[in-house]
Symmetry: C2
Subunit: 140 residues, 2 copies
């Protein structure tokens, strides 16, 4: 189903659903949780599929635009993506000591964000809320 969404999006932009883009899409669909572009490359390689690094990096923004995935976290100068789920969007608590990541959902926060956007006449299509600190185990 995300394939048809993606295909739609490409059509609208006059782009094509190539085997490479399809492969990236399918691999993305198989991902659980966060993933990095490089991880995707590795997995595709392991399957014997050859999609170049360039194509992967070219495809990911298209997938974001079409709403199939979203940029979830920026960490160590890397972008981590995540599949958009039917469930609510979630955000992250990031422990800067052990690196663990806790997900949380807060409809009230989402609602307030929408309110803010309305007030500024801003058309949002994505957002990231990262809270950094120490998790329960690492806290002094």
């Amino acid at each position: 189903m995300s394939e048809s969404v993606f295909h739609q999006h490409l059509r609208r932009k006059g782009l094509r659903l190539t085997p490479e883009r399809k492969a990236v899409l399918q691999e993305v669909a198989a991902m659980k949780g966060h993933f990095e572009p490089e991880e995707l490359l590795l997995r595709l390689r392991k399957k014997g599929l050859t999609v170049s690094r360039a194509s992967i990096y070219r495809t990911l923004p298209l997938l974001v635009e079409s709403g199939v995935i979203e940029e979830a976290i920026y960490k160590d100068r890397k972008t981590r993506y995540e599949r958009c789920t039917e469930k609510d969007h979630h955000d992250h608590l990031i422990c800067t000591s052990c690196g663990s990541i806790i997900e949380f959902v807060s409809r009230p926060i989402e609602a307030l964000q929408e309110e803010v956007c309305r007030r500024h006449g801003f058309h949002a299509y994505s957002h990231t809320l990262e809270i950094r600190g120490l998790c329960q185990e690492c806290a002094p």
Copy 2:
């Protein structure tokens, strides 16, 4: 006053308030709005102060830890910092078309975040909320 805060923090960690660190601190204090490390370097150079790039990059995390500045935005694989003000923390609406950045303050969102942290036993020391989309001018 942020100098004493910084000094305190260094003391606690057994570190020293060197001329280089002082220079960075002062330049940071003079900054209005967001700034990038490279920008800081340039400004110091212009003043005839020689603080190496390495020292700047080493000092910025210390300033974050001590609460003088905070990481405000991650954009184009660069970290943008911002001075912590007495006023409320603010977040950003980022227009991906024209690049303009709108700041907003929302105490209710902050409060909800604190609530989330409490619920997870998480000790937060900073957060960034970035909402990406199209500003009023760029919206179709």
